[in-house]
């Protein structure tokens, strides 16, 4: 297990300079996620037009994995349709071994081709206690979408 696989540069970059980190004006949906054990917190807000998530914000405090995952998620989600977002959530959870799938979702020969920056989070799989950190913003996104 290598710490370099976990703390990729791109993860530290998102941790230090989180994207979409300002509250939205009158969001259409929002949810708060908390991990009471470790104190990670993230609020996800979305703006929807028709079927599209036109804007998204994730604001929180917590470890580098939870906050980087939130930041990368906002970049991946913004501008996508609900259906596309649902597929993204599925792929993320498969990549993180949170959900099972018959087929791999990430092609090791084409890094970034499937999930972009998010693929940097794959290293978290080798640190099982941290998977829930990476998953927190995604659980919260799903709740915000259900509103």
């Amino acid at each position: 297990m290598s710490l370099n696989e976990l703390y990729r540069e791109v993860i530290l970059d998102h941790y230090r300079a989180p994207r979409h980190h300002d509250h939205l004006d009158s969001p259409d949906g929002s949810a708060e996620g908390k991990n009471p054990l470790c104190g990670d917190e993230v609020t996800v807000e979305i703006k929807v037009a028709g079927d599209t998530i036109v804007d998204i914000a994730a604001i929180g405090v917590g470890c580098s994995i939870s906050q980087a995952s939130a930041s990368m998620m906002t970049e991946a989600v913004a501008g996508k349709s609900r259906e596309e977002v649902a597929e993204l959530v599925r792929k993320f959870k498969v990549m993180m071994s949170i959900e099972d799938s018959a087929e791999p979702v990430v092609d090791p020969d084409r890094p970034g081709a499937s999930l972009g920056d998010l693929e940097a989070l794959q290293g978290v799989r080798k640190f099982p206690v941290r998977i829930k950190c990476a998953d927190l913003p995604w659980i919260t996104l799903t709740q915000a979408l259900e509103q």
């Binding site: 297990m1 710490l3 370099n4 976990l6 703390y7 530290l12 230090r16 054990l37 470790c38 104190g39 990670d40 917190e41 405090v61 917590g62 470890c63 580098s64 994995i65 640190f127 206690v129 941290r130 950190c133």
Partner: protein
Amino acid sequence: MTDLAHIRADFPILRQEMNGYPLVYLDSAATSQKPTAVLDAITDFYETANANVHRGAYALSEIATDRYEEARTRVAGFINADRREVAFNRGTTSAINQVAYGWGLYNLKPGDRVLLTLMEHHANIVPWQLVSRHTGAELVYVPHTESYELDLEAYHSLLDERVKVVGITAMSNVLGTINPVRQLADAAHAAGALVVVDAAQAVPHMAVDVKQMDADFLAFSGHKMLGPTGIGVLYGKRELLEAMEPAEGGGEMISDVQLDSSTWAEVPHKFEAGTPPIAEAVGLGAAISYLEKIGMDAVRSHEVDITSYALERLGEIENLTIYGPADMTNRGGAVSFTLADIHPHDLSTILDQRGIAIRAGHHCARPLARSLNVPATARASFYIYNVRADVDALIDGLHEAREIFGVA
């Protein structure tokens, strides 16, 4: 300094490797490791003496009962109490719940106050909140000063005739702060309040004398003092225990049961409903013998040595903030800190890769974390089996964390 390096050999778990490194266990405030003497006492009990207690009129049950009651005598001696003032239970949490539900529920009224410190562990907060829903009593908190000591001025000004119970941690599991329990108890008694002491961190690490403290109730856990999990102690002054209601009912705690009411067994048995943790009590007895052999003064001076070394080495790291008293005279071996903008969880993961176990989070003291204005801290905590090399390993690991996170 007392050299306790040789006792590491008594703790089998310390021979293990973790992630390819020798285990460096720095989480004794959460739970302590167990010496062979304790493990052997538990095995021996099951192999030679196991039966239910206070029940069977046969030799084996008498042997089991004797062992269980011997453990009670040991505990009583350890804290300078009478053996009838020592009730066994699951741990600090269940002991404080017994006081809240056995005393608080029957004696608190609307308008009354429960005065707690902001340093309390959830175990000395939540039971009072639960009971307040029935009694209407209000919870009030004493803050800490900027040097992480209890704000005595605030304490005295909050201590008025409305206060019926004062709940104090003798030693904070986050800040390490040792509170002046006797002084606080004298003031509380003068104001007509009872004092409930959370001694989960104090009893394992320093000599505790309930009479000298003048505690009305005092709670601690076996697992933090080299004993097994599942056993804890509620001490209460005899007359208070006599007057207090049991929070749990069932077998072993009655003197007679009629169809719609019962009378209770004598103290402390009326607080021990059901089959108690017998082997665990025996294990706690063995842990106390082990600690007594070393001597609590030697335990304390070893921890003063190692903690002051840790404070000194941590103090050398730039951008590292320690949350707790700087001076060893009023602090124990729990050292909470943050390092630059590296989240404590990330620190914990990085250290874990080097076999170093620390705690990250709010340490079951959310109100305190909020008043410190940090969502989480890292905590290293020490016990008799830790050595200076453990501190050195921690420091090396923290330097690696700085490198990984590019902290200048």
